[in-house]
């Protein structure tokens, strides 16, 4: 029995057929599911995780982006047993998917890894994050302060004046495992990655002693809706 391996959800049918093959060297197809479209491949077995497979998955999503403006990548390994099951799943999440598609339309993602020592987070930056070094108030205030600090990426405060209007949306994760302190994901207009890298290079002196490593442009992997409740 064949199953449908899903690569991406789209707002519109791509302008041309998606070239190449998928993770199992299968032909790629675009199907309509209600008001959404999905790029799928028919696979006989569920693909296993391997360097070749994850790169193949990413390559398909990138090729889709070349001929479609609003693309949401689907997580590796998502397989449905038949078209009806996929249609049901997309219908359940239609509202959140449509909202995310509007956000990512004509945009792409840049990824930053922030490296440094944990001590590089200054008390001043804690306050900027809404978390004073010595939180006062009730348990609720202290909880919110801890949560704000947990999601705060220190380098981003210093980067914002340089990146300015290039960044349409931002997601950040703190890792808390020095030297890898955090990852940040920026949604920027498509075609603006060279401008973004140039702005980042200008910002480097202001970031010291923190270091950042940039990669991209990526499909908007970090700007997809969270898992369904």
């Amino acid at each position: 029995m064949t199953s449908l391996y899903v690569y991406a959800v789209l707002a519109q049918r791509p302008r041309k057929q998606i070239a190449g093959v998928g993770v199992a060297r299968e032909r790629l197809r675009v199907g309509r599911y209600g008001c959404l479209f999905a790029v799928v491949g028919a696979v006989r077995a569920v693909p296993t995780v391997s360097p070749r497979a994850v790169r193949a998955h990413d390559a398909v999503v990138r090729r889709v982006m070349v001929s479609a403006d609003a693309v949401l990548p689907v997580r590796f390994g998502t397989v449905f047993h038949g078209r009806a099951a996929l249609a049901r799943s997309l219908a359940e999440r239609e509202s959140a998917l449509c909202e995310a598609l509007r956000l990512v339309e004509a945009r792409e993602q840049m990824t930053l890894r922030v490296y440094g020592d944990a001590a590089d987070v200054t008390p001043g930056e804690r306050e900027i994050a809404g978390a004073p070094a010595h939180p006062v108030g009730g348990a609720g205030t202290r909880y919110l302060a801890r949560r704000a600090l947990a999601n705060h990426v220190p380098a981003l405060t210093r980067l914002r004046p340089f990146l300015g209007a290039l960044v349409v949306a931002e997601r950040a994760e703190r890792h808390g495992k020095p030297p890898l302190l955090a990852s940040a994901y920026h949604l920027i207009p498509r075609g603006a990655s060279d401008e973004y890298r140039a702005a980042l290079a200008r910002a480097e002196p202001a970031l010291a002693p923190l270091r950042v490593r940039v990669s991209g442009p990526w499909p908007a992997y970090a700007f997809t809706p969270g898992p369904a409740a």
Partner: protein, 67 residues
């Protein structure tokens, strides 16, 4: 000599991103649909523990080579 500006398609398709970054994006991000997903929770956790350690190692290597 000035480098010719890349087209949008070239920027997207000629990626030299590291396998670690690809793994982080493809396995850890993206739309989660209620289909069959082949990675068990324990497997994912294991991958990310290693991924985090490897990303740290990449930074250490880059600093060593730049000295």
């Amino acid at each position: 000599m000035r480098q010719p500006r890349r087209t949008r398609a070239q920027e997207l398709l000629a990626t030299d991103d590291s396998l670690l970054d690809v793994v982080d994006h493809v396995l850890n991000k993206g739309v989660v649909l209620t289909g069959e997903v082949i990675l068990g929770v324990a497997g994912v956790d294991l991958i990310y523990l290693r991924l985090s350690a490897l990303l740290c190692a990449v930074d250490a290597l880059e600093r060593t080579s730049s000295r």
